[in-house]
């Protein structure tokens, strides 16, 4: 009996959890004058999406976010791979101190340092640039630790064999370690992409031109340009447009997504 109640309760919770998404989807597809009423009717339209697309430079925002997300990911992959290899496989002077320094970044992430990092960016004359949005995230302690764990599990014999064949250190890294750590790269990639696609505060502070604005910032400006609830349908459509790509990716690659997060959480 108790078990049955729990089961029903958890299904109810799932429906409750889905409600906000279904509601914003529903609202975004309704004609404007019906957006706030709960009358059931067969009126559905894509007009809100068309209107939103014309009203704000969303194509540019998409492009910017895409560039930022890709740029951060590529840079992180490179810096993290190199550092992770050093921590996993080499004994060197100052290793423990450096390790603690990396740990500190986990606790004090760039998101907290919005004001000091703004000053650094100003000193570098990189305010209102896409590279400025990306730069603070180029080194990821999280990525380093994740890859380090994986590299540690790769047997040393493989490296020796590759060296016998005359591979240099970088070649070994590229031919042995990187391919074997593929699941970790995918896991880290998904976490990083969803994080930077969703990032808002930092791009908001750094940018003030359309050419560099991220999708999230564009959405916030669009939503705030309305005074009342009169344009709910449009704002819902804009919201759907921003969450849709990631949501779609999540639904398509659900297993990998959840496994990735599991993977990155355990290590």
């Amino acid at each position: 009996m108790a078990r049955k109640i729990t089961t029903v309760g958890m299904y109810v919770l799932a429906v409750l959890w889905l409600f906000p998404l279904l509601w914003v989807l529903w609202t975004s597809l309704r004609p404007r004058e019906l957006a706030t009423s709960w009358t059931l009717s067969a009126d559905f339209t894509l007009a809100n999406f068309a209107k939103v697309w014309d009203a704000a430079p969303f194509a540019q925002y998409y492009f910017n976010t895409f560039l930022i997300v890709a740029g951060v990911l590529i840079a992180q992959m490179i810096t993290a791979t190199l550092a992770a290899y050093a921590f996993a496989k080499l004994r060197f002077w100052g290793r423990d101190v450096l390790f603690v320094l990396f740990l500190v970044q986990l606790m004090v992430p760039a998101d907290i340092l919005i004001f000091p990092n703004y000053n650094v960016l100003r000193d570098l004359a990189l305010l209102d640039t896409k590279i400025g949005i990306m730069l603070p995230y180029f080194a990821s302690a999280f990525g380093v630790f994740l890859l380090r764990q994986t590299f540690k599990t790769i047997p040393h014999e493989l490296e020796e064999a590759a060296r016998m064949e005359g591979c240099s250190w970088l070649q070994i890294l590229w031919r042995v370690y990187v391919p074997l750590a593929r699941p970790t790269y995918i896991a880290f990639g998904l976490v990083s992409v969803s994080y930077h696609w969703n990032n808002f505060m930092w791009p908001l502070i750094v940018t003030n031109s359309v050419e560099n604005r991220a999708l999230t910032v564009g959405l916030a400006i669009f939503a705030q340009s309305f005074e009342t609830g009169a344009q709910w349908a449009e704002v819902s459509a804009a919201t759907m447009m921003v969450i849709f790509p990631l949501l779609l990716a999540f639904l398509l690659f659900q297993r990998q997504f959840i496994n990735s997060f599991i993977h990155s959480g355990v290590k």
């Binding site: 089961t7 958890m10 919770l13 799932a14 959890w17 889905l18 906000p20 509601w23 706030t36 810096t79 190199l82 550092a83 050093a86 080499l90 060197f92 002077w93 290793r95 450096l98 320094l101 990396f102 500190v104 606790m107 004090v108 760039a110 998101d111 907290i112 340092l113 919005i114 004001f115 000091p116 990092n117 703004y118 000053n119 650094v120 080194a139 302690a141 380093v144 969803s194 696609w197 969703n198 808002f200 908001l204 502070i205 959405l219 916030a220 939503a223 609830g229 709910w232 819902s236 804009a238 919201t239 921003v242 969450i243 949501l247 997504f257 959840i258 997060f261 993977h263 959480g265 355990v266």
Partner: protein
């Protein structure tokens, strides 16, 4: 001699490999924190064209600032309201989603998807839910025959509204860590418990829960850090209001730095934030973590 050279070579390689990460770490974590410490001892606002040293004035002023205390207590209440509930809920979700049951992946998806929705979009959606008269919650209240409540406009309610929303956003994310933890528990333990005829509750209390302790610790730390990091929604929903009832430390830093342009004060506030987070890390590192792993 050859050995020394080989050693030197390894050191050089290691440092070269670490260099790219180190540069960004220094540039965007350590140097900024250092500069912030210095700036926090200076008067640097719109009234001072050149920042000048003013000792601990910023900190003194901060301690006398009602808004600072309000924001700090808000943040602690926000943490207290979100952390235990979302962690407990995540555990429940994981226990449920881990079992072989019909619609398992549907349930997992439903719980997890808020994680991939940006906070700024969450704010838009929930703004519609909380709006009086037209919002979804109003419709529900009306349907239940209860009066309408202004969730975001009322000082007494706004924090609850935020806490509920953040629990919705985060519980599914934490569920993932519990799912991973559950998969690491040996099946044999459950088998022997079943042989002894232990009840489900006993198994949970004696086996599952204690073995998930490291996960609980890990998730609680993330949840606590997040309660200081999550502020995007304030920009859309309340701007910290009404009368700072929903304001949080990071948003206050943002306002102080970029609306009032009081850089000295923003620096002092940032230092408080950094110290707070490092203190939590230290507690985890030196205290709780050891107890949990080595018992």
């Amino acid at each position: 001699m050859g050995e020394l050279r080989a050693k030197w070579k390894v050191n050089m390689y290691a440092w070269l490999l670490l260099l790219p990460s180190l540069i960004f770490l220094l540039l965007f974590t350590f140097y900024p924190v250092w500069q912030t410490v210095i700036l926090s001892f200076h008067q640097a606002d719109l009234g001072s064209p050149e920042p000048f040293f003013n000792g601990v004035d910023n900190y003194k002023q901060m301690l006398e600032d009602d808004v600072f205390w309000k924001v700090l207590t808000n943040n602690l209440w926000f943490a207290l309201g979100t952390v235990p509930t979302s962690v407990a809920l995540a555990l429940g979700m994981a226990l449920f989603a881990n079992k072989a049951l019909r619609g398992k992946s549907f349930v997992r998806t439903a719980y997890f998807y808020p994680t991939v929705v940006p906070m700024i979009a969450v704010a838009n959606i929930w703004l519609f839910i909380y709006t009086p008269e037209y919002g979804a919650l109003s419709h529900v209240m009306e349907w239940l025959g209860k009066g309408d409540i202004n969730w975001l406009g009322d000082q007494a309610n706004v924090m609850w509204a935020m806490i509920f929303m953040v629990i919705w956003k985060e519980a599914g994310y934490f569920m993932i860590f519990y799912l991973a933890g559950l998969q690491n528990i040996s099946q044999e333990l459950y088998e022997s418990a079943a042989m002894e005829g232990a009840s489900a509750w006993t198994v949970f209390r004696r086996v599952t829960f204690p073995l998930l302790m490291p996960t609980t610790m890990f998730v609680s730390i993330i949840a606590f850090t997040n309660s200081f990091k999550l502020v995007d929604h304030l920009v859309i929903m309340t701007k910290g209001g009404p009368d700072n009832a929903s304001n949080l430390l990071l948003y206050y830093i943002y306002e102080t730095a970029f609306s009032f342009w009081d850089q000295g004060m923003a620096s002092a506030l940032t230092i408080v934030m950094v110290v707070l987070l490092l203190a939590v890390a230290a507690v985890q590192f030196f205290g709780l973590d050891k107890k949990i792993h080595y018992n």
